[in-house]
């Protein structure tokens, strides 16, 4: 099935781009730099309550 092989190649290239390039180099969750949930909560509270 030629089309089957083509589709598998598309899926694999896409997964590599999404998970190995975009996820690792461009999409680090901002809050992942904090170690604990308390620190994350404090950071968000600070963002949500600081005056403009």
């Amino acid at each position: 099935m030629e089309v089957g092989k083509t589709l598998w190649i598309i899926i694999l290239i896409k997964l590599v781009v999404i998970f190995l390039i975009l996820r690792i180099f461009f999409f680090k969750p901002e809050l992942s730099s904090y170690d604990s949930d308390e620190q994350k909560a404090s950071h968000v509270i600070e963002n949500l309550t600081k005056l403009p």
Binding site: V3, L7, I18, P29, P52
Partner: protein, 523 residues
């Protein structure tokens, strides 16, 4: 406050990703069900021509599925990176439906899709049919969980805010899963997917008729897709109405923007066709329309099922003072924008106070302050998001985009009713293959049905601005502190990636269509 360029870049990137994602999804939702119906006919009759038909449309389904799968994951990356305040604030309300979607629905769909695609002559006919149905149902269940998350953003029910963690916590799982917004969004979105699939099947079949090939295959496909599409468009009218009723209750500003309505009245008309006055602002006396043809009392009926009911306009919502029935069924008097801002600021100050004192070593002071802050939050949290707004203009979505997108969607919906009725009549008379004009219209209808589906989403998402979570969090408070340069870089990567995928899908799909059902080599 972060620069608006970062907010705009993040919004633009999310819009691009979501709109491209929605190019792939609707065909999967509808074509899966159609294929399952075709295979059921094969299972019951044993007629090989039904098998051929099933296999051909499965091939088109597979091309779309392979190109579209995982494009939605990028949206989840964006939540964590570009919208971290939002992601934390929503807590598990948003994460739970997405996790359920991934664990159950997506794996159900993907696992049985493999059997559906590779399992011909390897598993029994019955098991293959079951796999096809489970693939189709899995795709639609998948959509349900995604739309549960989206529905909650538009109508945040079933939660309590915990100031200690700055997160919303789920208090009523079933209230979230079966909220009126979720139900109307799901039914309307899925039916739009059914319509997309019906139009695509009819268009490809018409192309075969034009080429004088696969006549029996095409006529059979047109018949089933025609009735399937007609069912979908009737259901779209019903669910569109229920969506309007829900929006009127939960997002009155969106409804007002959809209509370009600045001053409401009892028995508000519905604008059928209209041209907005570009000079109109909420705080001037310009006429909202340069021209319009309206249906008397139409909006009142659409919103409240009562021809004489009151529908507030943009100015009414800003000024408050009108009576309305809230989403819990209680009659209330609307408060003004300014009051909402004051209450939102009280809630924000209470949260700040809570954050400052939650680790206070003086237990007596801590308990007193936290108790007081909690009380202020409980009383004012429903307006928390207004604490980030200053000017009433900030609470108004883009009226022209919402107004015209709504009309494009409705007018194309009307066109598809006519198209499907004519199509079925011509199928019955067996005259489609001789009518080149109809074949041309059928093929042109494919981009139109995608425009219709995208326009619906534009109404839903642009119309709810400035909110990521209705009334609780505006976009400017939701974004992360990432650089706008980073967002623009990934925006360009996405634009290239998705455009490549779209071109690949179209190229492979056209190639398969040219080969036709006779090109299938499965048995």
């Amino acid at each position: 406050m972060l620069l608006s360029s970062l907010v705009d870049a993040s919004r633009l990137q999310f819009a691009l990703t979501a709109m491209y994602h929605w190019l792939f999804v609707p065909l999967t939702l509808g074509l899966g069900i159609l294929i399952a119906i075709f295979e059921t006919k094969y299972y019951r009759s044993g007629d090989e021509s039904w098998k051929k038909l099933t296999q051909f449309w499965s091939r088109i389904f597979a091309v779309n599925f392979a190109c579209g799968v995982a494009t939605g994951i990028i949206l989840e990356f964006e939540f964590g990176t570009n919208w971290s305040n939002y992601s934390w604030f929503v807590g598990d309300i948003f994460g739970a439906p997405l996790a359920i979607e991934g664990i159950f629905a997506f794996f159900l769909e993907s696992t049985f899709f493999a059997v559906m695609y590779f399992g011909w002559n390897k598993v029994s006919k019955g098991f293959h049919l079951l796999s096809t149905w489970l693939t189709a149902i899995g795709a639609n269940i998948s959509a349900y969980w995604i739309l549960t998350a989206n529905g909650w953003m538009q109508n945040p029910v079933g939660v309590a805010f915990n100031p200690a963690t700055a997160r919303n916590e789920m208090t009523d799982f079933w209230g979230i899963v079966f909220s009126s917004t979720t139900l109307s969004k799901f039914s309307h979105s899925v039916m739009s997917g059914f319509l997309v699939a019906a139009i695509v099947v009819i268009a490809i079949s018409c192309w075969y008729l034009k080429k004088k090939r696969n006549k029996e295959f095409s006529m059979r496909s047109i018949k089933y897709a025609g009735f399937f599409g007609l069912f979908a468009i009737v259901m779209l009218m019903v669910t569109g109405h229920s969506s309007a009723v829900t929006v009127a209750k939960t997002q009155p500003m969106k409804l007002a923007a959809m209509e370009g309505l600045y001053r409401g009245e009892n028995g508000t008309p519905l604008v059928g066709v209209g041209l907005l006055n570009p000079k109109k602002e909420w705080n001037n006396d310009e006429d909202p329309y340069l021209f319009h043809i309206s249906i008397p009392k139409g909006l009142s009926f659409l919103a409240n099922m009562d021809f004489d009911s009151y529908v507030p306009g943009i100015n009414d919502i800003i000024e408050g003072g009108y009576k309305y029935v809230d989403k819990n069924g209680e009659e209330k008097t609307a408060i003004s924008f300014q009051e909402k801002v004051e209450r939102g600021n009280m809630a924000r100050r209470a949260l700040a106070l809570y954050g400052q004192h939650k680790d206070n070593p003086d237990t007596l002071v801590k308990n007193q302050v936290l108790s007081q802050a909690q009380q202020y939050l409980d009383e004012n949290f429903e307006y928390f998001g207004y604490g980030f707004l200053k000017d009433p203009k900030e609470s108004i979505p883009n009226v022209p985009v919402t107004f015209y997108s709504f009309r494009i969607m409705v007018m194309l919906g009307g066109y598809f009713i006519l198209f499907l009725l004519v199509c079925l009549w011509m199928w019955k008379k067996k005259i489609i293959e001789n009518k080149k004009w109809f074949i041309f219209i059928a093929i042109v209808s494919v981009p139109l049905v995608y425009i219709c589906a995208e326009a619906g989403w534009i109404v839903a998402e642009v119309g709810r601005q400035p909110w990521t979570i209705q009334d609780l969090l505006p976009v400017q408070a939701s974004v992360s502190g990432v650089s706008s340069g980073n967002v623009w870089t990934t925006f360009i990567i996405f634009a290239v990636l998705f455009t490549t995928l779209l071109i690949a899908e179209l190229k492979i799909a056209f190639n398969q269509i040219k080969k036709g059902p006779e090109g299938i080599k499965w048995n």
